[in-house]
């Protein structure tokens, strides 16, 4: 006996995640849907397998999320589909519900956000609603866990019912007549078709996927031909209108608005989306997130460093200076631990994004910035993630998940690494400060600008040569503002952060172990005789045209792991402490005492892969080895070319 299998579906932002967590006890298994980068979450309620389908408004085959949801329902035949509906907006939300009923799958309707509905003085007659929909209707307030037990009970009951007959919702007679005729043709064509009525309706809508599917079967052309005599040109609209007018009837009977309530979202939008203040407010909010992230993260980062030193000291004291203790201390605690140093940054930034998302502002930010971003080959949603890149590219790349369209998302991910993250700054300060002293500020600023300009150019290039097709549309609901609950925001933050550690962790770990081995062996050798140095010597010729010496190259190799460790590794290589006052000038000496070469080195640092964690994040978010490799390779090539260009223009060769 196969496991019982049910699915959750609903419009975006109706509380599906909260309900999924309530039903499954937050033990979700997260993966991607086969072949695409859309996330697939599954969990268990007892031994019932629950699949969380992407948030969708419809089941049209042209939108990826819709198609995934639809195929799941058609192919995996879940026992029940739970349609989560925003009780404050039944009119639009029920449209998806009718589409589900049309497929013929048993549906349980969950009316979520009941607390807001009652605040808005919306009264809903569930009994009548259930009659209209011929399905159970359960009111819930998911964030307060209200109605969840009832929902579990109804799920258990519905799962037991074997093949419950599902009466279809009827269309006006004229349409119904033609549906029946086509339906009969479909039945004649394939005796064991599970849902001939649905196929008939899709044929009237000229649904591409269904048509194509039939065409590929023997005699399919015949069926299409004979069906087409019953199809009228604007059936698609007639059917949609019929659904909406049915919903209108339902709402007229079942929903009463008992009083007019002040619409706070409208009020807030007048402010946040104001013609003159909208953009300044956006920047202030973004600045606030940065301020918050860094002011809270800094002491936490220090704490992590203190813990590292303390652990290191304990191990050395306990085990003495052995190979094993060196692995524990230099490899694990200091190497792998360097990731923990920027973990506070990553988590806090996720916290900020979750807050913005849950409050309803993130959609507004996309609305405000879309025009500009569209011109640059991107999407309104891209802006926030590019901005976050100045803090840390990892959460920035992960924040692209809110961009629905795959090409917009991939381009946004690909250009993110050009946004100069916080970890690169110490390298700029060290080297820039040593050469330009107090003038270093404008030099550093120019690096940020180079990053931004290149990000834009690369986005345009990707758009022009790789994603040539039609741009994905901007159809975005601006939901009501909500005050996010602390618990929910923390849960969202934790889910994102945990995934990062899990998925990016492996690749980081492997790299760090390799680095430790290179650095430590042959045993007892000075750093200048280590394999790492040999590796540096081996690769150095590649950098001959850029005039980077072995030490500079090893710095870049370390920087590949994390820019945080570059400064420290220079200290190690040059035999002085990290804090040494002359460290900067020693590096500059190493770069031939030439400001141009030093600047081109900084340009290189800006543009090549920011850290292995970014590679992990790119892999995680694109789900594609190809894109991950492209991102690493193009970054390297770009860094190389730009660094070379700097030296060419700077006259190093003349």
């Amino acid at each position: 006996m196969s496991k019982q299998n049910i699915a959750l579906i609903g419009n975006p932002n109706v509380g599906k995640t909260v309900i999924f967590n309530a039903l499954t006890g937050s033990k979700a298994h997260v993966a991607n849907w086969p072949g695409v980068t859309v996330e697939k979450k599954t969990g268990k309620l007892g031994d019932i397998l629950i699949t969380d389908l992407p948030g969708t408004y419809s089941l049209t085959p042209t939108a990826l999320d819709d198609l995934i949801a639809r195929n799941f329902i058609l192919e995996e035949s879940p026992k029940v589909v739970i349609d989560i509906v925003d009780a404050t907006n039944l009119e639009r939300n029920l449209y998806l519900g009718l589409l589900l009923k049309e497929i013929g799958v048993p549906v349980i309707f969950v009316l979520n956000m009941m607390d807001i509905a009652s605040q808005k003085k919306i009264d809903i007659d569930y009994k009548k609603l259930a009659e209209f929909l011929q399905s159970p209707v359960i009111p819930t307030t998911a964030i307060k866990n209200e109605g969840i037990e009832e929902l579990k009970k109804i799920i258990a009951e519905n799962i037991k019912n074997e093949s419950e007959q599902n009466d279809p919702i009827l269309y006006p007679e004229e349409l119904e007549e033609r549906i029946t005729r086509i339906q009969n043709l479909v039945k004649g064509f394939s005796k064991n078709s599970k849902n001939p009525r649905w196929i008939a309706i899709k044929l009237m809508e000229l649904d591409e996927k269904v048509t194509e599917n039939i065409k590929n079967q023997p005699d399919g052309e015949n069926l299409l031909n004979s069906a087409s005599q019953f199809v009228k040109e604007d059936d698609r609209i007639s059917l949609a209108s019929a659904r909406y007018s049915y919903i209108k009837d339902i709402v007229n009977v079942c929903v009463k608005k008992t009083a007019k309530v002040f619409d706070s979202s409208e009020f807030l939008d007048n402010f946040f989306l104001n013609k003159y203040f909208g953009i300044p407010i956006f920047f202030v909010i973004m600045w606030g997130i940065f301020e918050f992230t860094f002011s809270v993260a800094t002491p936490l980062m220090t704490l992590v460093e203190v813990i590292q030193e303390w652990l290191g000291a304990i191990i050395i004291n306990g085990l003495g200076e052995t190979l094993f203790s060196s692995f524990l201390v230099d490899g694990l605690i200091n190497g792998f631990g360097s990731i923990f140093i920027f973990l506070p940054n990553i988590f806090l930034m996720f916290l900020g994004i979750s807050f913005l998302e849950d409050s309803g502002y993130l959609a507004r930010a996309a609305f405000v910035m879309d025009r500009l971003m569209y011109k640059l080959g991107l999407h309104g949603r891209s802006f926030v993630s590019m901005l976050l890149g100045f803090g840390c590219n990892v959460p920035a790349i992960m924040s692209t998940r809110t961009i629905e369209s795959e090409d917009d998302r991939i381009i946004t991910i690909m250009v993110n690494q050009n946004m100069s993250c916080g970890a690169r700054l110490p390298v700029y300060i060290l080297i820039g400060g040593a050469i330009w002293g107090s003038g270093a500020g404008s030099i550093i600023f120019s690096l940020y600008i180079i990053g931004i300009v290149l990000a834009i150019l690369i986005a345009l290039i990707f758009r022009k040569f790789i994603f040539k097709g039609k741009r994905s549309p901007f159809i975005l609901e601006l939901g009501d503002y909500r005050s996010p609950t602390i618990k929910n925001t923390l849960v969202h933050m934790w889910e994102r952060g945990r995934e990062f550690i899990k998925k990016a962790g492996t690749i980081i770990f492997i790299t760090i172990v390799i680095m430790w081995i290179l650095q430590t062996f042959p045993l007892g050798a000075d750093i200048n005789d280590s394999y790492l140095y040999k590796v540096g010597e081996f690769f150095q010729p590649i950098f001959n045209p850029l005039n980077f010496g072995v030490i500079a190259v090893i710095g870049l190799i370390f920087g590949f792991i994390a820019k945080e460790v570059v400064v420290a590794s220079f200290g190690l290589l040059l035999g002085v402490g990290e804090g040494a006052a002359n460290l900067g000038s020693l590096i500059v000496q190493n770069l031939g005492n030439s400001p141009i070469i030093a600047y081109s080195y900084l340009v290189f640092v800006l543009l090549y892969t920011p850290c292995v964690a970014v590679i992990g994040a790119v892999y995680k978010e694109t789900g594609s080895k190809k894109w991950t490799i492209i991102s690493v390779v193009y970054a390297f090539v770009l860094a190389y070319l730009m660094a070379f260009l700097v030296q060419l223009i700077g006259g190093v060769y003349f």
Binding site: T62, A63, E205, A240, L273, F367, V368, P473
Partner: protein, 74 residues
């Protein structure tokens, strides 16, 4: 009859015709002939536009709005 993109702020139109390859998706968002749609505001840089339809807020790029015809209602 005017295009949805030509509505002025505060004006209400009744949707007459949708001629877009996205019409199924737009239908699902409530854009159906006969439904009222009101332009609430434009984004600070002029695009996209924010509408009220079926008691919720929907934003669309102007480009899509050019595929929708409305009749201005009083």
């Amino acid at each position: 009859m005017v295009l949805l993109s030509d509505l002025k702020i505060g004006e209400v139109g009744i949707i007459k015709n949708i001629n877009s390859d996205l019409s199924s998706r737009l239908n699902a968002m409530g854009l159906i002939p006969g439904v009222e749609i009101k332009l609430l505001r434009k984004a600070p840089i002029g695009d996209p536009l924010e509408f009220e339809i079926l008691h919720y807020s929907l934003s669309l790029r102007k480009e899509i709005c050019k595929d929708v015809e409305v009749e201005i209602s009083e």
